[in-house]
């Protein structure tokens, strides 16, 4: 495969570094990317560095949140480079314009770490290989067309002579990067497509994997923060005197929306914060509660037109709660701000948003800002936000010392950017054959796009809201969203942004309500029409061999048609987005006393092709676990203007005992799909549909929690 579309500016300029080696980098700045090893003898290139001793360092533009992107990016580059996989290590790059995945941001989100980078990283790997072959041929004094690269050697085929990559990297670095490097055909792949082991696992079983909170800097102080528990509240009083008397406390510093205490250890900061006893009051949302939010949702839903009811019409209402991300690594950031530089260590999903904030706070010039992203202890959308970066940079600037800010779990749960609660009402009219002839969608929820982008708020428009519908509108297609797999002729959509001032953000897979609503409703319609739910879906899908194949495989895998004992049921749900398709069957039992047990989740997923199937499966498993967790128990409650939960004792997430056997099979296709987080979508509706099959009880409001099932 020849690539003719290289547009590189200075993007792939190669330079020599101290100590030798090949840098594929950028001419105007080479960021000191975070390095867990002690490689300080030269600047790092943007994507690849070969050292004299043959060690290869890959710098990924994405954060490693657990999704395995470091391994995937390294596999893609090394595949084309013919590098020895055993000599590879990977880190995440600092902020750099060339690490942006699109025109706007350097970020890790939207499930596109592979799809956004595969072509570019393949070209980088292939280009480096060509340079190494040229340098190797020159060194061996043989024609380069008689040479190949293999396993980190350049080999002269006729004589079988060879040179190591590390021996020729310095000379290779003097060559110019080829304009259109030749990429392999996928049939020639040796690494890509294989379930090889992750590069980060060895460090994650012995405690050596470095997270941002593990950073120690000379003279570093530790800070704890208290923010107003009531959204929008103010700090009314605090006991600075007592705090400063508390052991190890050095300073009390104001931060936006709260106050911070700085001490010589984390524990001293925690004790100091207690002594400080900050009291907050007021807040525009003092009257906010889950009840008032629900009331506002209902008012908006009920202000919408009602359709004439007849005996072939369903009027269905569903709701989803607010959810916390609750990554086990609590929100944190370490900053070292001096008069002319700022360095931060942060578990972030967006180095460019961090960068913009630092520019704003410090006024420093771009080249003096460095963002290190060590391993991130779970992202799930939470770490697109940067409140903790603001805290750390402000405090370090004021202290003129390195400062590590750690939010207590209580701060983390109470100051999240939550998955938004929502309500949906579907008025569905059926024809004589029991198929929908009209489907009206009404959805109310706060809108995180509108919270972040005022223009969308002003226009009352968020294209993503169309995901709530079995849509046939042109708008979703316009922005690359999927048309619903279901063919329904008359679909209307009405969305109301009901914002209660609670900070809203992206959650794992962004927003999961849409799948719960549509797949519950389709199931209800099927049962109403006295039709078998899987066959009914196939009827609505019509001519779509890709999706029908997935449903058939899933039926087989899950023994869909096999009769079950009393109190048992199977439920199915399907989701199609980002050109990925996933379908799941949940098998459950409900005891005569109403105790629910999920017995198995079967999943078939088609994400096109796979760089590392084992990692993809682990991500789908993870999505299913998070889906089970939220379906069963998660629910952020608001009372008197604040979140009433504050830790894992009252915000419960799934444990080992909640998780059944999970069987996942990946389908390969030529779809240009993305969406390794897709696993989470069909979980809740497959479980609630299974509960209906087992008991006749329809769950329309999540979480399932303690709702009576019999």
């Amino acid at each position: 495969m020849k690539n003719t579309n290289m547009n590189r500016r200075t993007f792939l300029k190669v330079t020599t570094v101290a100590g030798g080696g090949l840098l594929v980098g950028c001419s105007f700045s080479s960021p000191n990317s975070f390095s867990s090893s002690n490689e300080k003898d030269g600047d790092l290139g943007l994507f690849v560095r070969i050292k004299n001793n043959d060690q290869i360092q890959i710098i990924s533009p994405n954060s490693e949140l657990g999704q395995g992107i470091h391994t995937a990016h390294a596999m893609i580059i090394c595949e084309e480079m013919e590098a020895d996989w055993k000599k590879v290590s990977v880190t995440t790059g600092s902020y750099h314009p060339d690490y942006k995945k699109n025109m706007f941001v350097q970020s890790t989100g939207g499930s596109n770490g592979v799809s956004a980078w595969k072509q570019k990283l393949s070209e980088i790997g292939a280009g480096i290989k060509e340079m190494l072959i040229e340098a190797g041929a020159e060194q061996m004094r043989v024609p380069k067309k008689e040479c190949i690269a293999l396993n980190s050697f350049v080999i002269h085929k006729p004589s079988k002579n060879s040179v190591r990559f590390g021996q020729i990297a310095k000379n290779a670095s003097k060559l110019s990067f080829p304009n259109s490097p030749t990429l392999k055909n996928s049939s020639e792949y040796k690494l890509v497509g294989k379930s090889i082991f992750r590069v980060d696992v060895p460090q994650k079983v012995n405690g050596k994997a470095l997270f941002a909170g593990d950073i120690k800097l000379p003279g570093m102080m530790y800070a704890q923060v208290a923010q107003s528990p009531v959204f929008g509240g103010d700090l009314k009083s605090f006991d600075k005197k007592s705090a400063l008397k508390s052991p190890g406390v050095e300073a009390v510093i104001a931060i936006p929306n709260g106050i911070a205490i700085v001490a010589d250890t984390t524990w001293h900061a925690m004790k100091g914060l207690k002594a400080l006893n900050p009291i907050f009051g007021g807040g525009i949302n003092e009257s906010l509660s889950s009840k008032t939010i629900d009331k506002n949702f209902n008012e908006a839903l009920n202000s919408i037109k009602e359709f004439s009811k007849d005996n072939m019409m369903l009027d269905l209402e569903y709701s989803m709660p607010f959810l916390s991300h609750a990554a086990i690594e609590s929100t944190n950031c370490t900053a070292n701000v001096t008069s002319n530089s700022c360095e931060i260590w942060v578990p972030t999903q967006s180095q460019s948003i961090c960068f913009d904030k630092i520019l704003e706070i410090t006024g420093l010039s771009e080249e003096n800002i460095t963002i290190h992203t060590p391993y991130v202890g779970g992202g799930f959308g939470r770490r697109i936000e940067v409140d903790e970066v603001v805290h750390a940079v402000m405090i370090s600037k004021e202290m003129n010392k390195p400062v590590q800010v750690l939010w207590s779990r209580e701060e983390d749960i109470q100051h999240d950017h939550y998955h938004s609660g929502s309500k949906a009402r579907y008025q569905i009219k059926l024809d004589a054959k029991g198929l929908p002839k009209q489907w009206d969608n009404q959805v109310v929820k706060p809108d995180f796009m509108a919270q972040n982008y005022k223009i969308l708020d002003a226009l009352n428009f968020n294209p993503f809201n169309y995901l709530f519908t079995p849509n046939d509108s042109f708008i979703p297609g316009m922005i690359g969203l999927q048309k619903s797999p279901y063919n329904i002729d008359n679909v209307s959509f009405d969305y109301t942004n009901v914002d209660s001032g609670v900070p809203i953000g992206a959650w794992r897979s962004v927003f999961i309500g849409n799948a719960f609503y549509i797949e519950s409703a389709i199931d209800e319609v099927a049962h109403f029409a006295k039709q078998e739910p899987l066959e009914y879906r196939k009827k609505l899908i019509g001519d779509n061999p890709r999706i029908l194949k997935i449903l058939d495989l899933l039926a087989k895998q899950s023994n869909w048609s096999k009769p079950l004992p009393p109190g048992h049921g199977k439920g199915i749900a399907l989701f199609h987005e980002l050109d990925a398709v996933t379908a799941q069957v949940a098998t459950v039992s409900v005891s005569p006393k109403g105790k629910l047990k999920i017995l198995k989740i079967d999943c078939i997923i088609d994400l096109g092709n796979y760089v590392n199937p084992s990692i993809v499966k682990s991500q789908i498993e993870g999505g299913i676990v998070m889906g089970i967790s939220s379906a069963l128990k998660e629910n952020i409650i608001f009372e008197k203007g604040k979140v009433s939960q504050s830790n894992f004792d009252d915000y419960k997430i799934a444990k080992m005992k909640d998780i059944p056997e999970i069987e996942i099979n990946l389908i390969e296709s030529d779809a240009d799909a993305k969406g390794v987080d897709m696993g989470v979508f069909p979980v809740a509706p497959s479980i609630t549909n299974a509960i209906f099959a087992a008991t006749g009880k329809r769950i329309r409001h999540l979480p399932i929690g303690k709702q009576k099932l019999v």
């Binding site: 490693e64 949140l65 657990g66 999704q67 395995g68 082991f197 992750r198 980060d200 696992v201 060895p202 460090q203 994650k204 079983v205 012995n206 405690g207 050596k208 470095l210 997270f211 909170g213 593990d214 120690k216 530790y222 052991p247 250890t265 984390t266 524990w267 991300h325 990554a327 086990i328 690594e329 609590s330 391993y375 991130v376 202890g377 779970g378 799930f380 750690l406 207590s408 779990r409 084992s614 990692i615 682990s618 991500q619 498993e621 993870g622 999505g623 299913i624 676990v625 998070m626 830790n647 894992f648 004792d649 997430i653 799934a654 444990k655 080992m656 005992k657 998780i659 056997e661 999970i662």
Partner: protein
């Protein structure tokens, strides 16, 4: 002054006796494999072994620990050769990895008590939280480690 015996090494630390063991281990002894997750003994990210029993180090003070033997993830083996670590690699358990030190320590202790754990034993014995959702692989890795331990002995 407090003296702690961590991974067979004595550390004399200039900290107050009410300091939670977690923060002594992380901030003062600089063993950062043990993680903070909740501070109230709910998540298990800070699990260490004290006299071979699993303890959530955020919930015990250094004064309470006294001179008992403490094992952290770093002290499990010098080269990741403990059967549980080997099984964790073989099953490719970790995703983000943040909770995994605690998961591994809890698994080591479970296997000490139950060398042949059933799935039910694993449900009861493994109460550590994992938000990435590695539970199914943790389960497989514990069964594998149990097999590996039999080969060793």
């Amino acid at each position: 002054m407090v003296t702690l015996k961590i991974n067979s090494k004595e550390h004399t630390l200039n900290i107050e006796s009410d300091t939670p063991l977690l923060w002594a281990i992380r901030d003062t002894v600089n063993l950062t494999g043990t993680k903070y997750g909740c501070g109230i003994q709910q998540c298990g990210a800070c699990t260490v072994l004290i006299a071979k029993r699993p303890v959530r180090s955020c919930g015990i003070t250094v004064g309470e620990v006294g001179d008992k033997d403490i094992t952290t993830i770093e002290g499990l083996s010098p080269d990741s050769s403990h059967p549980v670590q080997k099984a964790w690699v073989a099953e490719q358990v970790p995703q983000c990895g943040y909770c995994q030190s605690g998961q591994i320590m809890a698994a080591v202790s479970l296997l000490e008590r139950k060398p042949n754990p059933t799935d039910k034993d694993i449900d009861r014995g493994m109460l550590n939280l994992c938000r990435c959702g590695t539970y199914t692989r943790v389960r497989k890795a514990i069964h594998r480690a149990s097999e590996l331990m039999k080969e060793v002995s």
